[in-house]
């Protein structure tokens, strides 16, 4: 994301207003996510409602067990996460294309690093609700937040006038609590799903 403010200058497009790059990044993230959600929702609509309820219930049970395992005190169990860093080659595309491609990758989630288990709720819920519209809204919220976060980051950076330093340390320290928070959220959502689906 820092590339929005910095990579352009190294790639000969430094004259581009950072707002243009940030807007492309945000729109790409939102659009790609909404498209994914609509597609998954459409796929879900092909599954009979009873099948979706059963499938979602089974996933909820698995998620609850996995989340509880991670929440145990001093647990060293970290649920599966996909390590997929942004391709370095994308930097050769130039700042504008980089903003679009990287924004789309972050918006979809599965094309970038998946660092929290609760991400899997997004595509599964999009399928489970079985509606392209609901899927687009749900997935679009995810991608939209990731895409729009760039504005917060840049605003902070412009005010702080620094890219590195203490903020990096504080973010690294948040790794484990953040994952536990993700697991707790997963357990709560799984419990709610089981209750609602069973009613």
């Amino acid at each position: 994301m820092f590339g929005i403010a910095t990579a352009g200058g190294r790639r000969g497009q430094g004259n581009r207003d950072w707002r243009v790059k940030a807007a492309l990044f945000s729109l790409a993230a939102l659009g790609a996510a909404a498209a994914c959600g609509a597609g998954l929702g459409w796929l879900g609509s092909l599954i009979p409602e009873r099948g979706r309820v059963v499938g979602v219930s089974l996933f909820a049970i698995v998620f609850m067990a996995a989340g509880l395992a991670q929440l145990r005190p001093a647990s060293r169990i970290w649920l599966w996460e996909r390590d997929c860093e942004t391709a370095q080659a994308w930097l050769q595309l130039g700042a504008l294309r980089w903003a679009i491609v990287n924004g789309a990758a972050l918006g979809t989630g599965f094309l970038s690093r998946i660092g929290v288990i609760s991400w899997y709720v997004v595509p599964l819920a999009a399928v489970g609700f079985g509606s392209p519209e609901l899927g687009a809204i749900l997935y679009g919220l995810y991608g939209g937040i990731r895409g729009l976060a760039v504005w917060l980051w840049i605003a902070w950076l412009r005010r702080a006038r620094s890219h590195l330093g203490d903020p990096v340390t504080s973010v690294l320290e948040l790794g484990a609590p953040g994952k536990r928070l993700s697991a707790a959220l997963l357990v709560a959502l799984a419990a709610a799903t089981i209750v609602v689906a069973g009613a």
């Binding site: 994301m1 820092f2 590339g3 860093e85 942004t86 370095q88 930097l91 989630g109 970038s112 690093r113 998946i114 660092g115 929290v116 609760s118 991400w119 709720v121 997004v122 819920a125 609700f129 609901l134 809204i137 749900l138 997935y139 919220l141 995810y142 991608g143 937040i145 990731r146 976060a149 917060l152 980051w153 902070w156 890219h163 590195l164 203490d166 903020p167 990096v168 504080s170 973010v171 690294l172 948040l174 790794g175 953040g178 994952k179 928070l181 993700s182 959220l185 997963l186 709560a188 959502l189 709610a192 799903t193 209750v195 609602v196 009613a199």
Partner: protein, 61 residues
Amino acid sequence: MLRGETTGSDRRPHYVGFVAGALGLGVGVGIVGRLQGGAGFLFGAACFAAFTAAILQQTLP
């Protein structure tokens, strides 16, 4: 993110994210008014999970 890069910031974005998540929960249920009862609640909760996952993914190293 590029390796070695970070979306680093102080802790404020987390609070911003969770406020946004709470709003998303309400907005999700509100927008999709045709989902009644448990389905509407689950959709709102899924919206909250999506918000939280997005914020955490932006801030985890």
